[in-house]
């Protein structure tokens, strides 16, 4: 009985943390697909993930112009934030901003490719290994206690 409560509590807490992490990822990190982008009305805040096309980077007064290459499709971007230094040609980047009527993006955010899959894989793998080790050791111990008694 006590063991069911212990495991229930621990697993519920872990699942709650995973769920909160997933929510945050969806709200603050995940990019939208290009097909979904095309359907957005002008002025919606979106994030896109793509590669800065070679030869497309140009500096303008107070803005950085480049073309984002998403699976061969091109999206022109005008970035007016403070992190322009991190933008480099051929680099895959996460770009956030408002979609314009002509399909271009007025960006106020640029960031490195989040590669969140590595974060999920790392935490997932390690925590599963440790959970399994905990479980197998507890079961083994229970079996031994029974044998000795």
């Amino acid at each position: 009985m006590i063991n069911w409560i212990r495991w229930g509590l621990a697993l519920a807490a872990l699942l709650a943390a995973v769920n909160a992490g997933w929510q945050r990822y969806q709200e603050q990190v995940a990019p939208i697909a290009l097909s979904a982008y095309a359907q957005q009305s002008a002025g919606t805040q979106v994030r896109l993930l793509g590669r800065v096309s070679g030869g497309s980077l140009k500096a303008e007064a107070g803005a950085l112009l480049f073309v984002l290459d998403i699976d061969g499709q091109k999206v022109p971007v005008r970035y007016t934030g403070k992190d322009g230094d991190s933008v480099r040609e051929l680099k895959t980047m996460l770009v956030g901003g408002k979609r314009q009527a002509d399909g271009s993006l007025a960006a106020d955010f640029v960031g490195i490719n989040p590669k969140y899959g590595y974060v999920a894989a790392g935490f997932g793998l390690v925590l599963c290994v440790l959970l399994l080790r905990t479980l197998t050791l507890e079961l083994k111990l229970r079996k031994l206690e029974r044998e000795v008694a």
Partner: protein
């Protein structure tokens, strides 16, 4: 005195286990949600909250085994040998997880799953030491000799720990220098330290819990073997 304390800890083990997993759940929440992304590495820097606590716990595990081995060689107390054995058996899981999480962090940041630099190699040597220790214990049957050999091996292998610690100072490495520089100098922003502390507390508590369980397991196995030997003796008579 220590024996009684240890027995008490073993009785409290279920609570310690629960505390460990609740701390880890809180650590996971802080690592994924509350901690900000890093200015340079972005989201993948969250893996630091996993990798660093695992590495510290692995070093703690070997240190516990080292101290217990000294105590065993000095006092010949079976409990000391059992604790050393348990710390190694549990520690190797944390060490494997450290290598695994480092690899998963290394690919998106360094662009390499593995590289032969001094930090990675010296840490992998600790893994081999633990594996060698556990292998040795299965090869030697006589319990007294097994404990003695294993303890000596644990002592010899301990020289690898300062090497791990100093590897990033002694040699050129791809691995970055330590973020905790001693004397209160830390190269990690305060907003990112809570998640790290929670995960470290969770990992170390889990190590304590699993080591308590594993020690109990070794004690029960010893009891069982003794019982079987007695039965055999009675049968022979």
């Amino acid at each position: 005195m220590f024996n009684q304390l240890f027995k008490l800890a073993q009785r409290l083990a279920p609570l310690i286990g629960l505390a460990a997993w609740l701390l880890l759940a809180a650590g996971l929440y802080w690592s994924l949600v509350k901690a900000p992304a890093d200015y340079y590495q972005g989201e993948v820097a969250r893996l630091m909250n996993l990798h660093v606590p695992l590495a510290k716990t692995s070093l703690l595990a070997y240190s516990v085994a080292f101290i217990a081995s000294i105590v065993y060689l000095w006092k010949r107390a079976p409990l000391a040998d059992q604790i050393a054995h348990a710390a190694m058996a549990v520690g190797i899981v944390f060490t494997a997880c450290t290598l695994m999480s480092g690899s998963i962090w290394g690919k998106p940041t360094w662009n390499a799953w593995w590289t032969w630099d001094a930090r990675l190699v010296s840490f992998a040597v600790m893994f081999l030491m633990m594996a060698g220790y556990l292998m040795l214990r299965t090869y030697v049957e006589d319990p007294e000799r097994q404990a003695r050999f294993a303890a000596v091996l644990a002592l010899v292998g301990f020289i690898d720990l300062p090497v791990i610690h100093l590897s990033v100072r002694w040699w050129r490495t791809l691995h970055q220098p330590a973020s905790f520089k001693g004397a209160g100098k830390i190269a990690i922003a305060p907003e990112m330290l809570t998640s790290l502390a929670l995960m470290a507390a969770g990992m170390m508590t889990l190590f304590v819990y699993l080591t308590l369980l594993y020690t109990r397991r070794l004690q029960l196995q010893a009891q069982l073997e003794q019982k079987q030997r007695q039965q055999l003796m009675e049968f022979a008579q």
